[in-house]
């Protein structure tokens, strides 16, 4: 299964990725980590980034 993980802003998401963000009631300017797993049809996992993205990444790398 191919995996892609990148930081996007909620307001640029479309389709099922946007639906995932809406389920979590995220604001248009929220930053999210979008994990795309591709088996046949891509699946999108959306995780909100709290605070600034550099601190988020550094904290995540230590977890």
């Amino acid at each position: 299964m191919a995996l892609d993980i990148r930081i996007r802003k909620v307001k640029v998401l479309q389709g099922r990725a946007k639906d995932e963000a809406e389920k979590k009631q995220l604001a248009p300017d929220d930053l999210v980590l979008v994990t795309t797993s591709v088996n046949s049809l891509p699946e999108y996992q959306v995780e909100k980034i709290d605070g600034d993205p550099v601190s988020f990444l550094l904290k995540r790398s230590k977890s």
Binding site: D4, L31, L58, S61, S63
Partner: protein
Amino acid sequence: MDDTGVQRREIILVLCHSFFHDAFRLQRPIDTMKFKIWVSSRFVANLIIERQAEFPEGSSFAITSQQVFNDFASKFHGEKPSAKQKETVAILRNSICVINAPSVIGLSIDDSVLVICDTLYSRSNYTPILVSNIPKKREKAEEFYHKKDPKAMIPYPIYSVIEAEPYLRGRFPELCKLVDERILDLSTN
């Protein structure tokens, strides 16, 4: 395109290895100057991620060479990276355009970013800004240009992060306000 039919050049930040090391430094520096560089580097890195997050995929606000990025990655996570460290580097790589073209891949980390700057300046609608925290970067760039022509001028700006920060604040005020709010949000929670 403006009224005269001239296409407006977008800015693109060309990142040197010193920028990555300062922005992703784990410990807050004690030395005053190093602390200022760390704060500005963090700010610029956050701005890059913030702006890239709303760019169409395939467009880039920041660029570097494969050798610069690999140098950073290997120092960041060491020889035996954890899965989370590898993932962090992959996420960062997706916020920055990393060039591994044959014309760049064999060059030193210094020359690779200078070649990227010159290529962007000469054959695209980007205005490159070389961002480096190494004080001798301008001299290195001059040496690089003077090898071919002793009278050649560096055609693009070279900024330290401390110089780049106010420039970027003037250029992207709304986005910078958002970056400040996110940094403040984290420090107050």
